[in-house]
């Protein structure tokens, strides 16, 4: 359930006060993942895994938040999505059946689908897991960021960096690190000088989303055993009463009803 519930693992810290919106990260992402180029993409799609959301002068780099306990991975019936020890939530197309429950369940609306393909894949940022992070390199987007607005590192270390920045410049930063607790914590963190609600950040609940369904699913063994025994018992009692009634009405002899060993009615 919680492959990543501690603060180990890698993360990204994006500081909105330092982003100049140059889109180097967007282009680097497209290059390394061999996605078709697009000029100034304005939303995530199957072919755009990160983009700059421009809101009245604030540049917000959107991407998968790589939740510590991801809803997408929890709902996937075939475990095609999973959280690795590095922190990346990755996708295995060879397992995927294409049910799109991940698209529905993600509270941040991150996974996208290749609607125009005959055998479509789910697409989203995978933190450059295969091409870079698993080889000990940082993701393309953070590597190329010229201003250091988006940083890669251990999650607990980045949290320290973020806390220090807020402490050093309380006049600039909003006293909130987005992703510290949202959806139970995410591996992509944000700092901002503008309240997050005004920038279209979802005010997600702080308990992990998978717990909502797990609280129900975990009762299944109880339901099955109690239900099974209950029904069998109901049948047993009613069936026996009916036999007794038949014996009393003379429709059956006692032996016919209860066998030779007999059970007195």
């Amino acid at each position: 359930m919680h492959p990543q519930s501690n603060s180990e693992g890698y993360a990204i810290l994006t500081d909105l006060t330092k982003c100049i919106g140059c889109e180097a990260c967007v282009q680097a992402c497209k290059t390394i993942n061999e996605l078709p180029p697009a000029e100034h993409p304005s939303k995530l799609s199957a072919t755009t895994w990160t983009y700059i959301d421009r809101r009245e002068g604030v540049n917000i780099r959107r991407q998968c938040l790589h939740c510590l306990d991801p809803a997408c991975a929890s709902v996937c019936p075939v475990a095609a999505l999973h959280k690795t020890e590095t922190g990346a939530v990755i996708y295995d197309f060879n397992r995927c059946i294409g049910c799109r429950y991940c698209l529905l369940a993600c509270p941040f609306e991150i996974p996208k689908y290749e609607w125009d393909k005959a055998l479509p894949r789910v697409q989203k940022c995978i933190l450059c897991y295969e091409k870079r992070v698993s080889k000990g390199e940082e993701p393309a987007c953070t590597a190329i960021c010229p201003t250091g607005a988006t940083l890669f590192g251990k999650r607990n270390e980045l949290l320290d960096v973020a806390r220090q920045r807020i402490k050093d410049h309380p006049e600039i930063y909003v006293n909130h690190i987005y992703g510290v607790a949202e959806a139970g914590g995410t591996s992509v963190l944000y700092l901002s000088d503008v309240p997050f609600e005004q920038l279209g950040f979802k005010t997600a609940q702080t308990t992990p989303y998978p717990q909502l369904t797990w609280n129900i699913l975990r009762h299944i063994p109880t339901v099955v055993s109690v239900g099974g025994v209950g029904m069998l018992g109901t049948w047993w009692i009613i069936h026996r009463r009916m036999l007794i009634e038949k014996v009393n009405n003379g429709e059956l002899s006692e032996e016919e009803a209860f066998g030779k060993r007999g059970e007195t009615p």
Binding site: T17, K18, C22, E23, A24, Q27, S45, A46, R55, E56, G57, V58, N59, S74, V75, C76, P77, V78, A79, A80, R95, C96, I97, G98, C99, R100, L104, P107, E109, K112, Y113, W115, L119, R121, A140, A143, I144, P146, T147, Y173, D193, V194, Q198, G200, A204, Q205, P210, T213, W214, N215, I216, L217, I220, V223, G227, G228, M231, T234, W235, I238
Partner: protein, 514 residues
């Protein structure tokens, strides 16, 4: 054999032709070409109707099985076969519908070997697979009988009770779990429908619609095939139905109250109108009608009320899966989606009719041909139903089409006040190393990101990136480009033209260092 051409047969044929064409498009061009689904609205009519409604309408199978075999109420035995047939048929259609909806239909078996026990969908997949097997076994005696296969019949009789219990358990699990599917989207599903209690609502409503479908089918078979109508049995079911509808109603409103969503019920929104269509016309009205003995014991009253329950159920599932999930999104099914869904319904009717004709589904007694059932009895109520549901359907369609004005009022953005301006207080802490060109005999030229950014009043990346040069994580430190190419407008010359920056024609030594 001559097939008579009737109005309904022509309609069925047209639907199937359209469905066939849509199927061809679905499997050659993909989901994007035949559906109006999108990243924002990934589940539409096929999940909402074909799967959620389909599974629910087949719930009569386990409800009646439990009544007959577990509670040992033998009087209901005579209707257990038609409900079993509906269930078996229903689940086969649902399984097929899932093949249409998922992107990788050839991998539909994956959940069997690739496990994720934390997924509701995984559990549903397992339950439906197992239940389909159980239904096939439960149904098999009817086929064995037809061909007088006595040995398998005997085997089936011995394992019938455990089989029925397994079937009821599996149904309890997945009927409720289809509601659990939506428990993980508290931010997306509208307050009138979202609740952690969804599995309970789905389960109770499945039982009620199972009973209603049993009544409904009995009437259809009575009208279409002249099968005997066991009114007293159906009236008994109707009494149970009243209780279940009442329980549902109480739980539903109690849940709305406790979650503080009761005010939503009394606001005039598209959602509340459809909610009242579902609860008022689909739960409350039939509950009252069936509670009145004079209505309950009349064929028309019984049939009409059962139909209300079924329509209410359908509306409920569509409300959860579509209305409640819409908000700022837009979705209205494409004709191809509708054609495929209607084809499933049509195939269901056709196979049911064939099975009734060739297998021993209904009690053998038939109605006296000289005294045919009074067909006109349900004429009036039929028209009333059509009228009422026409209104609700119109509301649904208007709701779907009214997407434009719904997109108009997303969040009134509060004026954003920045505390800092990244463009004023530039800090380039992560610039690439200098790029050195030393292949030319004109001397070494060094391009420095830093110099270029610091010398410009309003530094930007755009003049060069990504049009002239791709952003590259590992920039080439050397380049084979020499001579005039560097001077052209595709390179240094792009800016060094005398207007944006000093021209390449002058000041050579500024770049070309000895």
């Amino acid at each position: 054999m001559k097939i008579k051409i009737t109005f309904w047969r022509v309609i069925a044929l047209l639907i199937l032709l359209a469905g066939l064409y849509a199927t061809f498009l679905r499997f050659t061009r993909g989901l994007g070409a035949v559906t109006n689904l999108s990243d924002q609205f990934p589940w539409g009519l096929w999940i909402g109707f074909d799967v959620l409604v389909g599974v629910g309408l087949a719930a009569g199978g386990f409800t009646i099985a439990a009544i007959v075999h577990i509670f040992n109420i033998e009087t209901y035995e005579s209707i257990s076969r038609p409900t079993l047939l509906t269930a078996f048929l229903g689940y086969l259609l649902v399984a097929t519908a899932i093949m249409f909806d998922i992107g990788q239909p050839h991998r539909i078996w994956h959940p069997i070997i690739m496990w994720n026990p934390h997924s509701v969908m995984f559990e549903v997949a397992w339950c439906v697979t197992l239940y389909l097997t159980v239904l096939a076994l439960e149904f098999s005696p009817i086929v064995f009988e037809k061909f007088n296969l006595n040995v398998p019949l005997k085997v089936m009789r011995t394992i019938y009770l455990p089989l029925v219990i397994l079937g009821v358990l599996l149904s309890m699990l997945h009927q409720s779990s289809l509601g659990t599917v939506y428990v993980i989207v508290p931010d997306k599903l509208y307050g009138l429908w979202y609740s952690p209690m969804l599995p309970i609502f789905f389960f109770i409503s499945a039982i009620s619609v199972g009973l209603a479908m049993t009544i409904f089918e009995s009437f259809l078979s009575y009208r279409a095939f002249g099968k005997r109508l066991e009114l007293n049995i159906l009236v008994g079911l109707a009494r149970v139905l009243v209780v279940i509808l009442a329980v549902y109603l109480i739980l539903k409103f109690q849940d709305l109250r406790l979650r503080g969503n009761l005010p939503l019920v009394f606001q005039l929104t598209e959602e509340s109108v459809l909610f009242w269509g579902e609860i008022g016309l689909g739960v409350f009205l039939p509950m009252i009608l069936l509670f009145i003995p004079q209505v309950r014991v009349k064929r028309a009253g019984l049939f009409f009320s059962a139909l209300l329950v079924i329509m209410g159920f359908i509306l409920n599932r569509l409300n959860v899966s579509i209305t409640g999930m819409l908000h700022n999104e837009t979705y209205f099914p494409k004709w191809t989606e509708v054609a495929i869904t209607l084809s499933f319904v049509t195939v269901g009717f056709i196979v049911f009719a064939l099975a009734v004709k060739y297998l021993d589904i209904f009690p053998t007694e038939e109605i006296d041909p000289h005294n045919p059932p009074p067909l006109e009895q349900i004429g009036l109520s039929g028209r009333v139903i059509l009228g009422m549901w026409g209104v609700v359907l119109a509301g649904f369609i208007i709701y779907g089409l009214a997407k434009d004005n719904r997109l108009e009022h997303p969040v009134e953005a509060a004026a954003i006040e920045r505390k800092t301006d990244p463009l004023r207080e530039l800090e380039f802490t992560n610039l690439p190393a200098d790029i050195v060109y030393d292949k030319s005999d004109m001397g070494t030229v060094t391009f420095s990101h830093e110099t270029h950014l610091l010398l410009v009043d309003n530094p930007q990346c755009q003049p060069c990136h990504p049009k002239l040069y791709d952003y590259n994580i590992t920039p080439k430190q050397q380049t084979p480009l020499v001579g005039d190419v560097m001077h052209e407008s595709q390179s240094c010359g792009h800016c060094h033209n005398g207007t944006m920056a000093f021209s390449i024609e002058e000041e050579c030594t500024l770049c070309h260092v000895e």
